[in-house]
Amino acid sequence: MSDREAAASAAATDEELTLPKATVQKLISEMLPSDLTCSKETRDLIIECCVEFIHLISAQANEICEKDAKKTISPEHIVTALKELGFESYVDEVEEVLKDHKQQIRDREKKTSKFEQSGLTEEELAQKQQELFDQARDRLARAQYEAGGSGVPPEGYE
């Protein structure tokens, strides 16, 4: 093992595997009523609870995944885990997030395929864009002239 690898594996200790304090603090402040504050100790304890929650759900989802004879923990395994552990009330919103995520992926694929389907190279597309810009500039110049803006008619104006 090289020195760098050894340092990297040493860094992955318990202390490193926690959630960012600033993020958690911000969320707590957003969730608390405005007349309450939270001690730093409490914030750190909440972080511990959150990490424990991740382990709880992961372990349960992992069991479900194995029973399912799959090798990869899927979002569906997470949803089942939440139900089994008494967190059914979270399921609707969590499934919403899954729907949005799938939609984002579909949108991204549509954008890529639109480019591929246009049959044009990047250079050709850039040229088309420049033509559109030029046309728009001409239209603007005409409109300004007709509105009495500049005294000189634009090129080609009749």
Binding site: T37, S58, A59, T72, I73
Partner: protein, 117 residues
């Protein structure tokens, strides 16, 4: 809840690392930590909500760890957290004693309750 347009989110990559710290956990689909991030947000919300109830009940301004402990002890689904909070002492005896400020106590205050001996 204030700030409905909040975009504060948990770091998804970090969640994945925390998941995989458990040696039993193998491969994880890309969407999975994203879902856990949402569940975590809701979980934190529940935790803070219960903690707030205890605080309001006791009319205090600053939430301390024993308030969180009390909240956890009241909710079944939070059973998995009991071990974490078990060692926390409650200086207010479960809310029976009046809570003073966080300055060091000089004298214990008695709650205004009739003592039934």
């Amino acid at each position: 809840m204030r700030n409905k347009n909040k975009v504060t989110k948990f770091p998804v990559a970090r969640i994945k690392k925390i998941m995989q710290k458990d040696e039993e956990v193998g491969k994880v689909a890309q969407a999975t930590p994203i879902l856990i991030s949402k569940a975590l947000e809701l979980f934190m919300g529940s935790l803070v909500e219960e903690m707030t109830k205890v605080a309001v009940q006791r009319s205090i301004r600053r939430v301390e760890i024993w308030h969180l402990k009390h909240a956890i002890e009241q909710i079944d689904t939070f059973d998995f957290l009991r071990e974490i909070v078990q060692p926390i002492p409650d200086p207010t005896n479960g809310g029976v004693e009046e809570e003073t400020s966080t300055e060091p106590k000089r004298r214990k205050k008695r709650a205004k309750v009739d003592d039934d001996d």
